[in-house]
Subunit: 136 residues, 2 copies
DNA sequence: CTCCTTGGTCTCCAATATAGACCAAGTCTC
DNA sequence: GAGACTTGGTCTATATTGGAGACCAAGGAG
């Protein structure tokens, strides 16, 4: 357990980035990644391998074409995902993970699994909370 | 690498939850957690230990009181975080992780660290992308 | 000739986030 | 003892974001 001061001071070597600081580029990056759709897309590509646009749309159930496009563009721009167009008709566009994306997916897939495993417990906690706070 | 069908079929025992399915409770849970502020709050509590409201507000730089309250309530409701009120004046309210929260924070803190470590690379990718796509 | 497909984009409206004012109840200052 | 200050919120008004659905081009199928 580090104090915030120690962490600020210098976690070793030239590591001046701090996700907790509003202005830090790494914080902006985290904001790009810490989002429902981006995380689900990375988890899907991490678990099921390369997929085309429409497969992702079906797989990540409930995502709109607009948000899927937007999230994929951001992931592509940040170097996590590669977009490959096969100029056929109808078009075929395949997305797969680049090394950076594979690393991150490796951290996120467990988050997805954990969520599935612990959802039941969280629902129990929720019921208790709602019983204790009948207002609202 | 599993196919989506296999994963749907049954990943073992009574594990019918699927974060990729729009209607699944676990998906709703993930939506609660896969959010910038919730993740930063969990990371902060995970890295720096119990903190009071105002410490979190300073620590998670840029969060509004409203969003901080809202995210903390959701985390509390789902059984990840505990809220302790010390009835002094001015009031003192301390937040700390419950076991579920500690588990999740254990998965999220590495995501924060990874983001800090890889931000430089992602920024390089971004510049390349923007050079290749001068429009927009 | 018409319809269907894919991978988008564009527009419009609803939902959500942020900024900032406000509040109660002690405590410290003068 | 009047006034200012503190904490942990809430409430409102405005800005930003998300979702629903229309539209599109270039073939191929019937």
């Amino acid at each position: 357990m580090t104090t915030r001061e120690q962490s600020q001071a210098g976690a070793g070597q030239a590591q001046e980035l701090d996700v907790f600081a509003q202005l830090c580029p790494s914080r902006a990056m985290l904001a790009d990644l810490a989002d429902k759709w981006s995380m689900l897309i990375l988890m899907s590509l991490g678990e099921f391998g390369p997929q085309r646009f429409s497969e992702l749309q079906r797989g990540v159930d409930g995502v709109s074409r607009k948000m899927l496009t937007q999230s994929l563009r951001t992931l592509e721009r940040n170097g996590l995902v590669r977009r490959t167009v096969h100029p056929e008709t109808p078009p075929r566009v395949v997305y797969d993970l680049l090394p950076l994306g594979r690393e991150l997916a490796g951290l996120l897939v467990p988050v997805g699994r954990w969520t599935q495993e612990r959802t039941a417990q969280m629902l129990v906690a929720r019921e208790a909370f709602d019983r204790a706070h009948p207002d609202a």
